[in-house]
Symmetry: C2
Subunit: 339 residues, 2 copies
């Protein structure tokens, strides 16, 4: 191939602060050549997710150190195999793997699996049927075991994890209440996602509205953000309620030594709460069970997740900045090339 | 009765700081007269426990506000009924109730129950068979469900909750490791209580010693202290391990606005930990099951808890100060009168 491989790299190290477009730049490299046991993928969609922020700073569970200027962030991609020397991933096959912020990548099959565009839209494999969906399913089904008649609360409810968590809970007969950062997001949560209620935490009176929505107290809180909102949510949890600790959006942009928030550990004791840490990678072996349960709901429209797309890799940095400022509405994606 | 009722009251409000003898003073009042449905108890033992500290400052789950100068602290007592107008608590009966820091009290039976000095020493009803023992049992048996082959870690291991927790875990086939604040306490933990190991957290090299004792990681940590030691313990917890959040000794002497410790909530997520808040009052309805399981172990000597006694109410304040400075070795008691 004579084509160039367009990629997005860091313009400077990002130890702390909210990234913006200027923190990234475009770069070119030769399209790589697959060796025996490898295959080349042309990316169609690139997933932007909050966890990529601490990874850029080297703050994540196991893995590489901080990225420097010129380094490319890792990310999930969906794309098509265009050249293959790997029997399980033939030319023409569609594949989800960690292709990174670029147009092409070579894989040896590690953390890669085939996806079927006839069973669901390709981009869904990065959202409701991808890692965000698996996260939500692991929380609602495996860790919290949401039951009919319960009321669940979820933060970042307009995003793909929160949206899927609430809708799976509703499929199990629970009532879902969301928290989001704008009235536009809340309209999505109660409209498209059909939650019972959504509270804009930036509105005055949020704490009172949350207490009112809690009734006798929430049975389950899925925590996507950490920080002070975890305290707000614990205050309206019923005694013996469950909290799934999952996302730490409130801490992703700051180095540990800059964090001023102090969690009052006496609060979960007084609430007799059960707090469970969730790391989605643990549930990879259960991906088939997840897919078998959730894919039919997606196909039937029982579960919906809105997308917020940017067209072209040149916009990836700016789009990631919007995500980290909470300005996206729905699952953040970059369209890298045509289906 | 013409006798005077000796009591210990606060000399000044205790909003923050470690109490000492000068913060308390003796006072006298008439011995109260039981009315219909009440009984008068002559106290023999008075229990001193860490939870009494936040209660003095009004920082506890539900109950009275801060105590002022002249107010008497609440506490569990064991004593004998000396005058009764209550059919369930006849004269001569032995009773445990919340009699407070004084020589006599009147009760209407609220939170009171009869104890049998033939089944266990009277003072045990304030320790291994009292609220500390119930706390340890609820943690090991009900919340953590300790299993044979596991390794458990407990802080404040020389105290009655830690000692009983570790020994119940050992009765269930687990290996127990304790943390305590002096070599003398650790000698008690490995000697009298027969834990596999005890680490003095005030010794240099504590973190390394804890890592070495952890092996593949602790399955369960019973947390009596909160604060930085909870972080140390989480670091050596195995993935998917359980933490029972119970005591907050590290925070009992400080007002919330004075606390400088910030708990890193990302740590339990990375550990996939399950954190469970324990409030012992929830387990009062299971007191019979607790007693049936633990009393035989106490009678046979399979479970032992050392006592640290002060003779006479005049020493109660000083003894409480020793407890809050961690200078007691074993269950802190005041001998109020003869058996």
């Amino acid at each position: 191939m004579s084509a160039k491989n367009l990629r997005v790299v860091l313009a400077r190290p990002l130890s702390s602060g909210v990234p913006s477009a200027e923190d990234f730049r475009l770069a070119e490299a030769p399209v790589p050549e697959p060796r025996e046991g490898e295959f080349l993928v042309r990316h169609v969609y690139l997933s932007l997710d909050p966890y990529q922020r601490p990874a850029m700073a080297g703050r994540h569970g196991g893995g590489h150190g901080p990225l420097g200027a010129g380094d490319m962030p890792s990310a999930e991609t969906v794309g098509q195999v265009v050249k293959s020397r790997h029997p399980a991933f033939p030319e023409g096959a569609w594949v989800r793997h960690f292709g990174g912020w670029q147009a092409f990548s070579v894989s040896d099959g590690t953390q890669a699996y085939l996806v079927d565009p006839r069973r669901a839209p390709l981009s869904a494999y990065l959202g409701v049927l991808g890692m965000p969906g698996l996260t939500a399913w692991a929380s609602a089904v495996r860790l919290a075991d949401v039951k009919a008649g319960q009321t669940v609360l979820v933060s970042a409810a307009a995003g793909p994890v929160g949206a899927t968590f609430g809708q799976i809970a509703m499929q199990r007969g629970a009532r879902a209440v969301g928290i989001a950062g704008s009235d536009e997001k809340c309209a999505l949560v109660t409209g498209t996602y059909r939650f019972s209620a959504c509270l804009n935490y930036k509105q005055p009176g949020f704490a009172d509205a949350l207490r009112a929505a809690a009734g006798e107290g929430f049975d389950v809180y899925h925590d996507n953000v950490g920080g002070p909102m975890l305290v707000d949510a614990l205050k309206v949890l019923r005694n013996y309620g469950t909290v799934v600790l999952c996302g730490m959006m409130a801490e992703y942009n700051t180095a540990p030594e800059e964090r001023s928030f102090c969690f009052p550990m006496a609060l979960p004791v007084l609430k007799r709460a059960v707090l469970k840490g969730l790391v989605v990678y643990d549930f990879e072996p259960q991906r088939d069970a997840f897919f078998a349960e959730v894919a039919p709901w997606v196909a039937s429209g029982a579960i919906r997740v809105a997308e917020d797309r940017a067209e072209g890799l040149a916009l990836a940095g700016a789009h990631f900045g919007r995500l980290m400022r909470g300005e996206n509405v729905g699952k953040a994606l970059v369209v890298v090339g045509p289906e």
